[in-house]
Amino acid sequence: MEEKKYTIKDYRSELKPIWCPGCGDYSVLNALLQSFVNLQIPPHMLAIVSGIGCSSRLPGYVNTYGFNGIHGRAIPLATGVKLSNPAIKVIAVGGDGDGFSIGAGHIPHAARKNIDMTYIVMDNSIYGLTKGQASPTTPVGEQTKTTYYGNMDEPINPVRMMIAYKASFVARAFSGDPKHTVEIFTQAINHRGFSFVEVLSPCPTFRGAEQFKLIREKIKPLPEDYQPTDEVRAFEVANDNDFFHLGVIYKQNRPIYTDILKKLQEVAEKMRESEVLDLLEQFEP
């Protein structure tokens, strides 16, 4: 094995996570650090941005550039970073509430623009940080702090939503299967374009300790010969309500935003004669 320059220690920050004992997010964090080791990304070339939530605390636990922004706005924040410096690897992380509830309006646009970033949602089907209200992925009937009489709302299906948005990489992982999660993260970060990973990451505190077991029972890997390039097939697989398929469910290569932008700037630059004062010509009567 080749010698690695950066080890997991290089990526870990001095801050100790304040997550509850048994929280699924611990192994998401570890998997992410391991994927950085796999990819040997220099820490200062990484920017991890997030919104607000237990899961959104993650950037603080990683020794890279980090931005713990406001609730629901990780995606536009990440967009601003990426477009400003395409050399930086940009990773947005957060929860199911942060991403699919308050942040829902931003995802389709980053996806269709194919902005080169990785978006990891730690899906625990609950609002953890605010102590247990229903999230967009909470199952029907569930009693939470805001659904005393049982949740009435059909949950969303993040994976099929992402396929409909034309995200160019869509995958699902489970924080109870760290090895597979590392593999998926590594692929996602390596993907050129908007890559999305839903990580099932239980919240034992507000959804019970048996979550890990319940999810494990419903997990199903993709068929051996599965080809993630067919949108319709991917949509069908995502539709399966009885099982969670883990793995890369959809993948496509299409031009990334920053590449197109670069070409545009080159065209534009050719139209410019010299320095800024030439702009004054625009105002000549």
């Binding site: 931005f67 922004g69 536009p76 924040l77 800024v276 105002f283």
Partner: protein, 594 residues
């Protein structure tokens, strides 16, 4: 009445080419070195509704559109009806209208004594005859009025050439023919009875800018690298302009899905080390409240332009108002620091934008530029030389302060310093890694809920204000210092106040005006100096609720200076006239010893 200062109003329907005509006129006048001021006004329809333009030109500097028209040109009386209240007429007004307009004369809402000088011209017929198309009737009209009132004729012809793409000679020629047809018609058919005549000596050509263009230009001048925005009237021209020109300087312009996304993208870009900005109007500003707080907390420089419009809510998108001041200062939850600057005319849009980047980058906080529809959408002619050496010139504006090698050793991004400014890094800088956050944090950027750290960090974030107050003291002052009557106004109200003050003093009514450029933090010293001699002060603003008056009183106890304040407010829509302000000055001047 030969004059070197003339106000022309033109009204008609959307298809009449009125705006083009106005622009050609403005360009002609500017190329002759004249001072020009041009306002457009439209109905609610996107296409085919009524439209109007008002052009003031003068060989002396002008600060307003002029209260009343010397010349009224009407291509359609029906459409003119919609602009009655915006188009007041001088007693000596000259009216030029379309002979073919079938509008019943008795319904024209102009008193007969102002209809004495009325010329009717068959614009359409002349256009068809000369250019072979009715579309040229706006140019015929320019021919008519240039001949009638001695407007710059050669310059008009040049402007037409420039407007109608030099390459399509055919079109240019047709329009030049139309212009001449108008002029010939006057020579042959009209016996001039009125006395309105424009006279001036040509000077060095001036350039023409709209306020929103000046803002965009200022941003490029200041080195903006990233613009994210979402269209909204009356600010969108800033984005239009930048989307053409910023990419030519390797900059990024991205249309986001909404204003929440825009400001967060701008914050992301600033985090990545870029000079970044967005522009919007009221509704977008409300949506940016949370993001503005984040930029303040994360100490990231951003520039946000609010081109104010009539409110509240969707309000009147195309018209002006000054009712967003208090929101700019206080609009985010928590003690969220931001600087607020207000341009007072088109040139000032440029200056304020350059200043905004300077302050944002130096102090690492959000700077809000409060423009409005009145400034943003009007055109003014400007001396091109003024852009050559500016204090915070292109590329001369330092980017935010970065840490030294030494400071990077155990880097504390939010280090508490006496003036609140701490060196900052961005992704890509080795050893500069840190956590930016909207949550309260310690010097390293790690989250905390410790009360004493919260107090210390809040103090640090606000310490910048003290330094800003030390660095700046500029306010615009008009009129004699020893006047006992004062006026305080801000932003686009400057024009009317300035002209009214000049007029009053010329008439022996001593009055002095002060117009702040940096509104927040409040630079108190110039006001103290201003108030020392005052007995009574009029506070002028275009807002019913009167935030400016509350704001000033919140910072200045006028009573301590023995000064009485009078609030002069008007709901938005139409800007103040010089006459309104003048009358108010006279009224308060007479009360001054009461």
């Amino acid at each position: 009445m030969a004059t070197n200062n003339i106000v022309i109003g033109i009204a008609g329907s959307g298809g009449d080419g009125i705006i083009s005509a106005g622009e050609i006129l403005v360009n002609a006048a500017s190329s002759e070195g004249l001072f020009v001021f041009m306002l457009k006004s439209f109905g609610a329809q996107i296409r085919g509704g009524e439209s109007s333009v008002r052009v003031r030109m003068s060989s002396e500097p002008v600060a307003t559109q002029g209260d009343k028209l010397d010349i009224l040109v009407v291509l359609s009386w029906k459409d003119y009806m919609k602009f009655q209240s915006e188009m007041l007429l001088e007693d000596h007004v000259v009216i030029v209208s379309d002979e073919e307009d079938k509008f019943p004369e008795e319904n024209i809402p102009i008193p007969s004594e102002k209809m004495k000088n009325w010329y009717k011209v068959p614009f359409t017929k002349l256009a068809n005859e000369s250019a072979g198309t009715t579309l040229a009737k706006n140019i015929v009209m320019l021919g008519v009025i240039s001949e009638l009132f001695n407007l710059p004729k050669a310059a008009l012809q040049n402007s037409i050439k420039k407007k109608f793409d030099k390459n399509i000679t055919e079109i240019v020629e047709k329009n030049v023919k139309a212009l001449k047809a108008g002029q010939e018609y006057v020579k042959k058919e009209i016996r001039k009875q009125d006395s309105v005549l424009f006279e001036y000596t040509p000077g060095e050509p001036r350039i023409v800018m709209e306020g929103n263009e000046a803002t965009a230009f200022g941003a490029i001048y200041a080195g903006v690298e990233f613009y994210a925005g979402y269209p909204i009237t009356p600010s969108t021209e800033i984005m239009h302009w930048l989307s053409i020109y910023l990419p030519r300087y390797k900059g990024v312009v991205i249309q986001m899905e909404d204003e929440l996304a825009s400001i967060n993208a701008v914050i992301g870009a600033s985090f990545a080390g870029r000079k970044a900005m967005t522009a919007t109007s009221g509704p977008g500003m409300s949506l940016m409240a949370e993001g503005l707080g984040l930029a303040g907390m994360a100490e990231l420089p951003i520039v946000v332009v609010n081109v104010q419009r009539g409110g509240p809510s969707t309000g009147i998108p195309t018209k002006t108002e000054q009712a967003d001041l208090m929101q700019a200062i206080w609009g985010s939850h928590g003690d969220a620091p931001r600087v607020v600057i207000a341009p007072s005319d088109v040139e000032d849009c440029f200056d304020c934008t350059v200043l905004a980047f300077y302050i944002a980058e130096k102090y690492q906080l959000p700077v809000i530029i409060l423009s409005d529809a009145f400034i943003g959408l009007r055109k003014e002619s400007i001396n091109p030389h003024r852009f050559k050496d500016l204090k915070y010139g292109f590329k001369k504006i330092n980017r935010r302060m970065t840490p030294t090698e030494n400071e990077l050793e155990d880097y504390a991004r939010f280090k508490i310093t006496p003036n609140g400014i701490s060196p900052v890094t961005w992704p890509g800088i080795e050893k500069g890694m840190y956590q930016a956050a909207g949550i309260e944090h310690n010097e390293k950027g790690f989250p905390t809920s410790d009360v004493s750290i919260h107090a210390a960090m809040t103090k640090k974030r606000w310490a910048k204000f003290n330094e800003i107050k030390r660095e700046f003291s500029f306010e615009r002052l008009y009129g004699p210092e020893d006047a006992e009557l004062g006026i305080i106004a801000w932003g686009s109200t400057k024009g009317a106040v300035k002209e009214a003050v000049t007029k009053a003093n010329a008439n022996g009514i001593k009055v002095q005006a002060i117009i702040p450029q940096i509104l927040y933090p409040f630079l108190i010293q110039p006001f103290y100096d201003f108030l020392r001699r005052k007995k009574r002060v009029i506070i002028v603003e275009m807002s019913h609720a009167g935030g400016f008056r509350r704001y000033l009183r919140g910072f200045i106890q006028f009573g301590d200076f023995g000064v009485k304040t009078v609030s002069y407010r008007q709901t938005g829509g139409a800007p103040f006239t010089v006459g309104q302000i003048y009358d108010k000055i006279v009224q308060e001047y007479e009360k001054k010893d009461a």
